[in-house]
Assembly symmetry: C2
Amino acid sequence: MSRTTIADVAREAGVTKATVSHALSGNRPISEETKAKVLAAAEKLNWAPSQSARALATRRANAVAVVLARDPEVIANDSFFPAFIAGVESVLAETETALLLQVVSGRDAEERAYRTLTHGRADGALLLDLRTDDWRVPFLDDLGLPTVLVGTYDQPTGFSCVRTDDAAPVREIIAHLRAAGHERIAHVSGPLAYVHSKARAAAYVEAIGGDELLREGDFTAASGRTRTAELLALPERPTAILYSNDTMAIAGLSYARSQGLAIPQDLAISGFDDDHLSAHLSPALTSVSSDPAARGRAAARLLRADILGAQPRTEIVDCNVVHFRDSTS
Amino acid sequence: MSRTTIADVAREAGVTKATVSHALSGNRPISEETKAKVLAAAEKLNWAPSQSARALATRRANAVAVVLARDPEVIANDSFFPAFIAGVESVLAETETALLLQVVSGRDAEERAYRTLTHGRADGALLLDLRTDDWRVPFLDDLGLPTVLVGTYDQPTGFSCVRTDDAAPVREIIAHLRAAGHERIAHVSGPLAYVHSKARAAAYVEAIGGDELLREGDFTAASGRTRTAELLALPERPTAILYSNDTMAIAGLSYARSQGLAIPQDLAISGFDDDHLSAHLSPALTSVSSDPAARGRAAARLLRADILGAQPRTEIVDCNVVHFRDSTS
DNA sequence: ATGAAAGCGCTAACAA
DNA sequence: TTGTTAGCGCTTTCAT
């Protein structure tokens, strides 16, 4: 690898290591002439600074981490994550910051992961899949690791936060369904331990005025099917179901059809997250897109600012758009 | 953060830094007694070795990288990637190796990314989305960065490789369709620059004996729709279409229906990669699952071995399974 | 505007 | 089995 070091470049350019360092970082005035010499030498020797040496000297890893504590199945089900990461990356790339990804299972593993990160691996972290009373929030606060919360967190924290309004699209869909004459509207939520699931469910309950037709799913197709079956077995079955993700919605749609119901005539269905396939189904699925890449970009920018010592801020990325498609009309 | 260093722990335990280091790494015999003292001191001071200092001293970053050169849209479309990463992680976690993710666009950016990685950021890389005559293969060879190729590469290289047999499932689907009486079977491929797309297309051409009904798509829904429209407009339209991913298959299915065709009676359709939604569509989509997590695990293991200096090996992970569902029967 | 030298926190010879 | 001593390759005071 990089067998050539800054010393080689310094020698080649006829200057000292300090000059080479500053010529590249711009941390102090350098004459155009020597700067050119240094750059030429670096180019000639094909040299680039060693990230690990730099990290040690500056006490900065130039890397941030995303720790994912999810079941493998849920990871594969998720259309949010890849696009989110792409957004994060696009911002990190500007400052040559690396993205560390860690998939862990179990609280112990997750704690260990954060501990290791803190010790010279990463300068900050992005926290996804927030839960109510999430232990990670105080834990990371304790560690002193700059962190950005992605998702609406319901308690005061000293962390920066990227929020979206999960309630608005729920209200919008319900209003739409009501206008179309629906009176028994059900909701299959995600795990209520997640703040975003909870926020959507709460918006539903408030709009409907009750939770009689609320069922808790877990974002998997299996739960979409089961909860739908329960709802359809009710004496007075719902005429519309609003799901908290597309996977459950499609599983539900599929089940309803198997029971002889026509979509949307007998049962209107809407999803959430707007999976890339949803617009192409028959009927096309009504869903809510949320521009995960934009949220990724916002989160990365906030984290960068935090690392540089800025005051924590909450940024609202309001990019939820309801796409009304055939499954609700 | 880690304001406490190995020196503090050494003092606390009444030994030297070297002893502390070895007590943790096990790199030389340590008496149980001192080892216990060291561990206790480390625990008490809540100390863990700094990864950046360690990286500098050992010339090993304890990290491997995945560089993704893809359009954002294709990333979001892809059901392979998240599961693959989860598999990679499960193996890396065993050795506390971090995963660096880099999403780049453009060859320049990708070259820069690899250069930076080589300079103390990562010990190795996983190469995805291989293309025929991929410039990255000789480039990485040049850089001397241990690399594992994920996907069937068609040229001899000095790199380890995780292969799958893309041809077998194609043959199996075609045989199945023929047995059901289909004679005009079409194929909508992915970009033929990708080795896996090409391998599938080649298997198709060989089984069919011609490429009259072969169309090149790009894995997006839009291309699935367009290519399908072309095929259905043919004087003698195909009675079955085999797509190289599920996104295109579903877009095609949707289009065919809009033209009044019944699936599978008028047109049989099969996909590839078995998106998590595919089994839940109506009709359920015939597709090929490929256990991305298993491939991720294999790739990570090979890379680890490479980094430790093992001979490059090619491992065949044969996990392609065709799921025949309603869309083909 | 540049040079000299002291670390950053760890590992790894080399000794004992 | 343990201690001593150099580095790893960079950044960053402090001088000049």
